[in-house]
């Protein structure tokens, strides 16, 4: 009798401890799962990129095809268009998981929700922000962006879009429970995007004018560091609100 009792408690103990031990395992599993899901739904990855290209096409048509004029406003246009593309992709960040109930499972795991949410945001950046950053130089070429600023454009977008994903995820988490949260999401998130836009577009402009680029990039990095600390907590709190409500 004592032997089976001991075996039982051991089993119970193992069952309780197993999920708690593996924070790295849980984060890695979330990363892998989200990456795989997104890679299987390619259109969701491609749509923001196509949107980015179309919006950039609209500007020469709407303003003027004059290269000198376009070159002057290209840094801002590219940044605003990339920002909007990243914003549009946010609505789907938690949507599918919310609909099929796996978001609830995520909330129930013993691992801290903030870190798991951070993993989801990391995947979002990897498949939205980073491709946008890599694509931006090509569109910059079409807008006659002055030579020498292409690398800074890509770097500032790669760095800045990480902050955009983190800040935007707060809005996405707050609105995921609402049936039509799309426009509301933009309303909540866009004012918070302004600092990133200022320093991101500022970095590209600083290269063109020959000013110090590193200061802008450093501030973008600082914004990212701040967002990395605070945003996951806010995302986790917002997800709890959306699920329980």
């Amino acid at each position: 009798m004592p032997a089976t009792d001991g075996a039982l408690t051991k089993e119970v103990r193992v069952a309780c401890e197993e999920p708690r031990g593996g924070l790295a395992v849980a984060v890695w599993a979330t990363l892998k799962r989200d990456l795989m899901l997104l890679l299987r739904r390619r259109s969701e990855v491609l749509n923001p990129l196509v949107f980015f290209a179309i919006v950039i096409t609209l500007f020469p048509i709407g303003i003027s095809p004059d290269p000198a004029l376009l070159a002057a406003i290209a840094p801002g246009l590219l940044w605003v268009a990339a920002l909007l593309a990243a914003l549009l992709s946010l609505d789907s960040l938690f949507r599918a998981d919310y609909d099929d109930g796996s978001l609830e499972q995520l909330l129930l795991t013993p691992q801290p929700l903030a870190l798991l949410a951070l993993a989801k945001v990391a995947v979002h950046w990897l498949l939205t922000g980073l491709p946008l950053a890599l694509m931006a130089p090509v569109l910059g070429l079409m807008l006659a962006l002055p030579a020498g600023s292409y690398l800074v454009l890509a770097a500032s977008l790669a760095l800045g879009s990480a902050s955009l994903s983190l800040i935007g995820a707060i809005g996405a988490a707050l609105t995921v429970g609402l049936s039509r949260g799309g426009v509301l999401l933009s309303l909540l998130v866009l004012p918070l995007y302004i600092p990133v836009l200022i320093f991101g577009a500022g970095a590209v402009q600083a290269t063109i004018f020959g000013d110090g680029v590193l200061a802008h990039l450093a501030i973008l990095g600082a914004l990212l560091a701040l967002a990395l600390i605070f945003a996951p907590l806010a995302i986790a709190a917002s997800l709890r609100i959306s699920i329980n409500g």
Partner: protein, 246 residues
């Protein structure tokens, strides 16, 4: 402190205590605003550069002060609501948000009216104006988010989180807009005479600022009281109150 926080949990207690405080704040608001307005608009000396148009300051500056303080209050009440689950804090936040948005709008509008005689234009992408505009958007976001939820508890908590996120961002937005402005445009137009202001101009401004704050407190207390009645309508003390009133 704890006793006070525990008392705040009771809407009934708040309803009773605010009834006693309310007349004082209304009286203070009335006296201060009337005094400040008459002094500022009629007796304060005209500015030697801007003439009489500088008198817009007596509405513009208090409104701008309130616009910023109310957002901070939203975040503080949001924090209190999230941490201690004090419903009064959320009721106050509900009624303060539209007031804050209105104050931001008044500050922007009076700034635009002021801009015509001083700058010759209704709108300038000035750093101060731009950050005020962004503040207005933040207010509208909080109000819209609260309105979007069907469950009141979710709405309250979501609005609290957004207000806290916004308040962390306000200084960042403010400094980045300042930086952006100095990069793009030389600061040719600064609102003159704000720092170095003679006493006769500054005192009525101080009175107006205090008056606006009293007005804000009085209005918030009053609207929180009606919010209490609305949310606690099924409670016995509210029904007894209604029966007495009849």
């Amino acid at each position: 402190m704890w006793a006070f926080i525990n008392k705040l949990r009771s809407p009934k207690w708040f309803y009773a205590i605010s009834a006693r405080l309310l007349p004082w704040f209304w009286a203070a608001a009335l006296i201060l605003i009337v005094t400040g307005a008459i002094w500022g608009l009629l007796f304060a000396p005209a500015d030697y550069q801007q003439g009489n148009s500088f008198r817009i300051i007596y509405v513009h500056v208090p409104a701008a002060f309130l616009a910023q303080s109310i957002f901070v209050s939203l975040a503080v009440t949001g924090l209190v609501f999230m941490v201690w689950k004090i419903k009064i804090a959320d009721m106050a936040a509900t009624v303060m948000a539209p007031l804050g948005a209105a104050m931001t709008f008044i500050a922007l509008f009076s700034g635009a009216v002021w801009g015509v005689p001083t700058w010759g234009t209704w709108w300038m992408w000035d750093a101060r104006l731009t950050s005020m505009l962004i503040l207005l958007f933040l207010y509208l976001g909080v109000i819209a988010l609260r309105g979007a939820f069907t469950s009141r508890d979710s709405a309250s908590r979501a609005a609290s989180v957004l207000a806290m996120v916004g308040v962390i961002n306000i200084p960042i937005i403010k400094y980045s807009v300042d930086w952006w402005y100095t990069l793009h445009q030389p600061a040719t137009f600064t609102v003159t005479g704000r720092a170095a202001m003679p006493m006769e101009m500054w005192l009525p401004l101080l009175i107006m600022v205090l008056g606006f704050y009293s007005f804000f407190i009085a209005l918030t207390l009053m609207r929180t009281r009606s919010e209490i009645l609305r949310r606690e309508a099924s409670k016995r003390w509210v029904r007894e109150l209604a029966a007495e009133a009849k």
